[in-house]
């Protein structure tokens, strides 16, 4: 239902805008009457989204860090997932955020966090194969001294950052191994904010997903 309201909200906005454009040629009084309707409509829909805190994108509710700072990082409250690539001798390397382009890294991680374990076996393997292929070709690019991302390669440092600014893990050739990646692992992280502030090692990891499954 919200999807329908949101779609109608934008459709109404565009239609009224077009009416305002057409009415612009029919004298000031007519033009102003439609502009007033248009403004009232925009005020109504945008404040409906903001005050009700409902998603009517592009009339957004702008929920930005609205919660109190979390005490725990876990798979339930404030979740953090780390993705690593695995070599044949079992070494793990954190994956650079540019490796999974055209996906935005954090958006894909969130999807994996929510969906990967509810997929059927073949679908899960298909996702894993895709991730491994992207990671491996990014590794090869990084080893060759190239930019690891296929999309941001166009603008490089001038590319618009994604919503979360992630560290560039693969800046030098030596940041990646010279042998191929053979697997992907995703870990949930569990830590208490204050405890880890005193001891950075105070963290527990549990496996969310492994590809290939028999690793």
């Amino acid at each position: 239902m919200t999807y329908l309201i949101a779609a109608l909200g934008f459709a109404g906005f565009v239609i009224l805008g077009l009416i305002v454009i057409i009415a612009g040629g029919r004298g000031e009084a007519v033009s102003r009457r439609w502009i007033n309707c248009f403004i009232a409509y925009i005020l109504g829909v945008s404040f409906l989204a903001g005050i009700s805190q409902r998603d009517l994108w592009p009339f957004s509710y702008w929920r930005l860090m609205q919660r109190v700072g979390p005490t725990e990082v876990s798979d339930s409250a404030y979740a953090v997932v780390q993705a690593v690539a695995v070599t044949s001798n079992g070494d793990e390397y954190p994956i650079d955020y540019r490796a999974w382009e055209p996906f935005t890294y954090e958006e894909l991680l969130t999807w994996l966090m929510r969906n990967v374990n509810s997929l059927s076996g073949p679908a899960r393997d298909s996702v894993g194969a895709f991730l491994l292929k992207k990671t491996e070709s990014a590794r090869l690019a990084a080893r060759a001294g190239q930019w690891p991302g296929v999309v941001t390669r166009r603008l490089r440092d001038l590319a618009a950052p994604s919503h979360l600014l992630l560290a560039r893990r693969w800046q030098n050739r030596d940041d990646v191994p010279n042998t191929a990646f053979v697997g992907i692992r995703l870990y949930w992280e569990h830590w208490n904010v204050e405890t880890r502030a005193r001891d950075p090692a105070a963290m527990r990891r549990t496996i969310l997903y492994t590809f290939p499954a028999q690793q």
Binding site: Y3, L4, A6, A7, F10, V14, G17, L18, I21, I35, I39, I42, S46, G50, Q53, D55, W57, P58, F59, S60, Y61, W62, R63, L64, M65, Q66, V68, G69, P70, T71, V73, Y78, P94, P102, F103, T104, E107, L108, T110, W111, R114, A123, S126, V127, V150, V151, R154, L155, A159, A160, S162, H163, L164, L165, L166, W191, V193, E194, R196, A197
Partner: protein, 347 residues
């Protein structure tokens, strides 16, 4: 009594929304919004996501219809992205800007959700939320012929008009709503506890302790200072509630513009969070005023800004002639200069 109140309300509404504005400022906003959207477009490949149907499994059909997005059409989506880029270039340059605005708006509405579509229907804070809205609003304003490439129209379009005023105000409102609704969301979800030193410290630590984020040191340092954490919490909330003043006041816009830019940069450096839409606070910039100042500065002897005629007229002159006075008679070039320079600027 009631009638008078309604009449007064109507007058206030008209005075507010239909206050004349400069076409140059409207042109600036149009170009800025288009260039910003182009920056996002060239930094993403929205269309490619369409070619990866395995990730679309959890997307309900209602949501697909909302944006008319269906998997398995990467070539078609790529064509749409190319058309969107062409339309945005036309908007930026002022080539058929009204048509280009509508086309670009519809295509951005269709394409932008692809960034987050696989897990959330609302790509807010990813950079293109305001673009479809502002572009349609700007399409409603007549083109300022003198400030666009094609079609060009008479120089009378340079005059301030109410037709340029209300689209600008709506644009400022959309930008202000980012902060206004963010403040409202904080108040609703957390109340005053959001601003507490403890809450801010924990947010800072969550970002500082996670090696995935790009910046850590400033967050660590701030987290160790409870007073600074409290100040950050209070200033953030006060600032977010106050941005709406920009819709109403020129002075507020002038003050808030650098403050909000610094705020955006600060959030990036401290929390590694980038809200792409916040760069549109640059729509607060009064380019018309800047252009006037620049013209005055470039004028011969204009290094002193608007000291119109002070030297030539011994302080008594309030016209803009500077160099060409012989006795009490102004020569022709001075008169032309005087006409170009409006009385308000000469005083």
């Amino acid at each position: 009594m009631m009638n008078r109140l309604v009449e007064r309300m109507r007058r206030l509404w008209d005075e507010f929304w239909f206050e004349p504005a400069s076409p140059l400022n409207l042109t600036w906003v149009r170009s800025l919004v288009a260039l910003h959207a182009l920056w996002m477009m060239f930094s993403r490949n929205y269309a490619a996501v369409s070619g990866l149907p395995i990730f679309w499994i959890s997307i309900p059909s209602g949501l697909r219809w909302r944006y008319l997005l269906f998997p398995g059409h990467p070539v078609f989506e790529q064509s749409l992205q190319t058309i969107a880029i062409i339309a945005l270039v036309c908007v930026a340059l002022g080539v058929l800007p009204r048509v280009a605005c509508v086309v670009a708006s519809l295509l951005v509405y269709h394409l932008a959700p692809l960034e987050t579509f696989i897990w959330t229907p609302t790509p807010f804070a990813r950079g293109l939320t305001l673009t479809p809205l502002i572009l349609v609003v700007l399409a409603c304003a007549p083109g300022a012929g003198g400030y666009q490439l094609w079609p060009r129209s008479p120089a009378s379009d340079h005059e301030p008009s109410w037709r340029y005023g209300w689209p600008l105000r709506l644009t400022w409102l959309f930008v202000a709503q980012i902060y206004l609704f963010a403040a409202f969301a904080k108040a609703e979800a957390s109340g005053w506890r959001w601003s507490s030193a403890e809450s801010i410290r924990r947010w800072l630590l969550v970002f500082a302790l996670d090696p995935r984020w790009r910046f850590h040191s400033l967050a660590f340092w701030l987290a160790a200072h409870p007073t600074l954490c409290l100040i950050i919490g209070i200033v953030t909330v006060v600032l977010e509630w106050s941005v709406v003043l920009a819709v109403f006041s020129k002075i507020a816009r002038a003050i808030l513009l650098p403050v909000l830019l610094a705020f955006a940069v600060g959030i990036m450096l401290i929390l590694s969070i980038h809200v792409g839409e916040t760069w549109l606070v640059l729509t607060f910039l009064d380019v018309d005023r800047l252009a006037q100042r620049l013209r005055a500065w470039k004028r011969p002897g204009g290094a002193s800004g608007h000291q119109c005629g002070l030297n030539s007229f011994g302080g008594a002159g309030r016209r803009c002639g500077v160099q060409h006075v012989t006795g009490n008679v102004l020569d022709e070039s001075e008169q032309i200069e005087g006409q170009l320079c409006g009385p308000a600027r000469c005083q």
